[in-house]
């Protein structure tokens, strides 16, 4: 069972929910896929026991073999290669823009001269560890690196389907989020009852419907703001899985790196109940 936690809007409490749900369950594998700024480890405090380089393949051109035909540039949908043909006896040149490269390999596959080979480029690291019976894995994208999906995919390769897998997704609704939530059996969308929360929730719902991933909503700070998120969920037939009221004590615990279930152990039962409901729902959906 893979459950991802996403939000649309940032700062709604994704990591809080993911971490506390994980701590309430047994036999969990936790993947922090918010690789641009992973922070679940601050709360889970796992012991990191292994590290793996994360690389993508970027093209390297052997200009001795290159005929400056421009095929590589033509097949690169990310515009990461520019071929400048030579003229007046001047040699041509091939410019590579590694920060635009997605590592798809089309350039080397299609090069008629066999002039392109691919070389590893480090984009970040994957750290593996654990805490009690929980396995913990996260990716850290190198500073200045623009593309997180390849690293997210590499983190997700560690998914162990025999465990309860919790994926902490990045915020937003673009490629990194889609990469993180893809393949989940269920997605929890964390939102807040504000116009921003509702706007970004609406976008996230569209994404999940397109991906055909069953989902439900958790409303964080549910007793402040307005009632429009509730109205929206009611109208759209989206189930509200949990409501967490605003509390200074929660904020204080969070800022000390403490977890909710440690400070408020009664919540464990609530998280477990929610997990039961999610499992039942996802099972039913998968049989449809």
């Amino acid at each position: 069972m893979v459950i991802s936690v996403a939000s649309g809007k940032g700062g709604t409490g994704k990591t809080t929910i993911a971490v506390n749900l994980a701590l309430s369950l047994k036999n969990v594998q936790f993947l922090d896929c918010d690789v641009e700024e992973p922070n679940a480890h601050i709360f889970l405090k796992p012991q990191i026991t292994g590290e793996q380089r994360a690389v993508i393949l970027v093209p390297e051109v052997d200009e001795e073999k290159c005929a400056y035909c421009g095929k590589c540039q033509e097949v690169c949908v990310y515009h990461a290669i520019a071929v400048l043909p030579g003229n007046n006896g001047k040699r041509g040149s091939v410019l590579i823009f590694p920060h635009l490269c997605h590592g798809c390999g089309a350039c080397s596959l299609f090069c008629p001269q066999g002039a392109i080979k691919e070389a590893d480029k480090d984009i970040g690291v994957i750290e593996i560890g654990g805490k009690d019976d929980m396995q913990f894995i996260h990716g850290r994208l190198n500073i200045g690196e623009a593309m997180s999906p390849p690293l997210i995919r590499q983190v997700k390769k560690y998914i162990n389907p025999t465990k309860t897998v919790i994926v902490d997704a990045p915020p937003g609704t673009s490629c990194p989020v889609i990469t993180a939530v893809k393949g989940s059996d269920f997605c929890i969308l964390v939102t807040e009852p504000t116009p921003f929360g509702l706007n970004d929730l609406t976008l996230a719902v569209e994404v999940l419907r397109k991906l055909q991933i069953p989902f439900g909503v958790i409303i964080n700070r549910s007793d402040i703001g307005d009632g429009k998120v509730e109205d929206y969920c009611g109208k759209e037939g989206i189930s509200v899985l949990m409501r967490i009221p605003f509390s200074k004590e929660i904020a204080r615990a969070y800022s000390c790196g403490e977890t909710l279930v440690y400070r408020f152990p009664d919540l464990i039962k609530e998280f477990r109940n929610m997990f039961e409901r999610i499992t039942t729902y996802a099972d039913r959906k998968s049989q449809e």
Binding site: Q73, Y78, H79, A80, A82, V83, L84, L95, F97, L100
Partner: protein, 125 residues
């Protein structure tokens, strides 16, 4: 000699487009004959790599100089690799820009004038 001016419209009275990679039109002007040709910039719609594609388009037209408002790092790299002189920081009409260029009033820039994604919708005015 052929030069390229980024332009909002398709005539010499149009305003110089402040973006290179995502400019609306390229005006290719022949300083020997005074003839010109306007070409719409299909690369303006690209999510990424617009500067690179526009740079290549301009290179393929065999121009020797580019007059524009701003040029980003990728386009700058392509244009300079092809040995094209880049004149940034230009405003006013295309005609004015060409006249000033002919009089030698501009100085070529050897660094990008703006960062990546400068010309994305919502980023420039």
């Amino acid at each position: 000699m052929k030069i390229c001016v980024t332009s909002e419209g398709k005539t010499l009275d149009s305003k110089v487009d402040p973006r290179f990679g995502r400019c609306r039109n390229f005006i290719f002007f022949d300083t020997d004959t005074g003839n010109f040709e306007a070409q719409e910039n299909a690369n303006a719609q690209f999510q990424g790599g617009a500067g690179i594609q526009s740079g290549q388009l301009v290179v393929s037209r065999g121009v020797e100089a580019v007059l524009t408002g701003n040029v980003g790092p990728n386009a700058h790299q392509v244009l300079s690799a092809a040995g094209i002189s880049i004149f940034a920081g230009i405003s006013g009409t295309v005609k004015e820009a060409i006249e000033a260029y002919k009089k030698g009033e501009y100085k070529a820039t050897d660094t990008p004038s703006v960062g990546s994604k400068f010309g994305m919708p919502g980023k420039s005015s």
